[in-house]
Symmetry: C2
Subunit: 229 residues, 2 copies
DNA sequence: TCAAAAGTGTTCGCTATACACCCATGG
DNA sequence: CCATGGGTGTATAGCGAACACTTTTGA
């Protein structure tokens, strides 16, 4: 047994992991992907996907690897938001976890190739989680809300083409507020971050489809604009 | 030599450190505290104060310990903002660093009891730093600017009592913008975050002194307000 | 037939901005 | 005496919030 412990240090080193809060939007509610733990501790409990940081990868690469394993998505919006370091947060040993949140388009998600059971939960229906993952999830939500004031992160959660109503529902889900439909519509169009797809709408009752205008966004970002909500 | 390496693991573990970007304000410019490295690598170069995380302390406790050693200050505003994990960021071994920034009142700072030479640099006069500390400093500045939209962090950098002009100079230094003196004055008073100290001003030419009204701030925070700048 | 959806208009009030003014001080 | 610093006032433009209207569809 002893000869397996071949990595030796003069001082104790904590383990380092990455955990990933994966957000999706189903058209009306914000969801988060959880995996069921198959081993102790917290066996049977739900937890955030995560794993040990490899010595040759950065934390972001590690988090992307987790994301890929769980959702099949290689490229997605991913952002580091906090590192959790309480000495007792893992009962087995000292573990420091670098936490990311990812924004994925739900309809592009394939089942993960991981053996573990994974499931999407609405944010207000998340069960008690393993370790300090409740706290991690709470902070991720907070950071997402904060981030939305500086970057149009919402678009990462919608399909390529979407209606203004869908966009509004998303913003309302993230910020937990209600907007006036008409004001939201005008405000969004006025920002010029949306490009209309189908210029001819036969039906006054069928909404326009839009795409996110990334070029225009980069333009505005140069000038240092803010998204007011 | 071998028998010093008594901490053994089945898998390799990175070292974990905390680094601390300590900001101060001298009345006209934003400053940052750097220490001169006494050992290789980067011997003689300037770097951010930092050190290894102890196994019984959280990262924040570690950062506070660094802050205390460098400035003598036990309580100050301190905030984790990013963890740097590039595999090659330290030429010796794999080191992950959890970075904090601290806001201190310059006039309360005592010399550090650390042996290392420490010095305050104006933000735009910072020399090339050791490791990836340039990048860390840049991100700290960015985060401070971002944070100021949600929390009145500026007050952490001023003395207990200050004039509106001083507050304006601070905001201008942080955000690198200029404000109209008269509009800034009214806006600040209108927010009601300031409590006037000397109600009688004998001299029309000597400015009022103010304190930060923390109670009022907590009130406003409940209602979810934003600082517009 | 009528409620619901989606695009368009209008009004009002707040506030950010620009800029004028007044007063006391000190060189 | 006048430039400077510091507190106060005012006018305008723009935008967000509230809410009316119109058309089309489908139950």
């Amino acid at each position: 047994m002893e000869d397996k412990l071949i990595y030796r240090y003069e001082y104790p080193h904590p383990s380092v992991t990455t955990d990933c809060v994966i957000f999706g939007f189903d058209g009306s509610r914000l969801k988060v992907l959880l995996v069921e733990r198959g081993v102790e501790p917290f066996k049977g409990k739900w937890a955030l996907p995560g794993g040990f940081l490899r010595m040759d990868e950065s934390a972001e690469q590690g988090a992307r690897r987790e994301l890929q394993e769980e959702t099949g998505l290689a490229a997605a919006y991913i952002k580091q938001f906090h590192t959790f370091t309480e000495p007792q947060r893992d009962p087995r040993e000292r573990v420091v976890t670098i936490a990311y949140y990812a924004l994925v388009k739900l309809q592009e998600v394939k089942g993960g190739d991981d053996a573990a059971r994974a499931e999407w939960f609405a944010l207000d229906e998340v069960p008690a989680l393993a370790f300090d993952h409740d706290q991690i999830l709470r902070m991720a939500t907070q950071e997402l809300r904060r981030q939305i004031h500086f970057e149009p992160v919402g678009f990462e959660l919608l399909p390529e083409e979407f209606t203004v109503k869908e966009l509004q529902l998303l913003y309302e889900a993230i910020l937990d507020v209600r907007f006036d439909r008409r004001n939201f519509y005008k405000k969004m169009l006025h920002l010029e971050l949306l490009t209309q797809v189908n210029t001819d709408h036969a039906n006054r009752n069928q909404p326009y489809l839009f795409r996110f205008n990334e070029e225009k966004y980069n333009e505005l970002k140069q000038k240092g604009f803010r998204l007011e909500f």
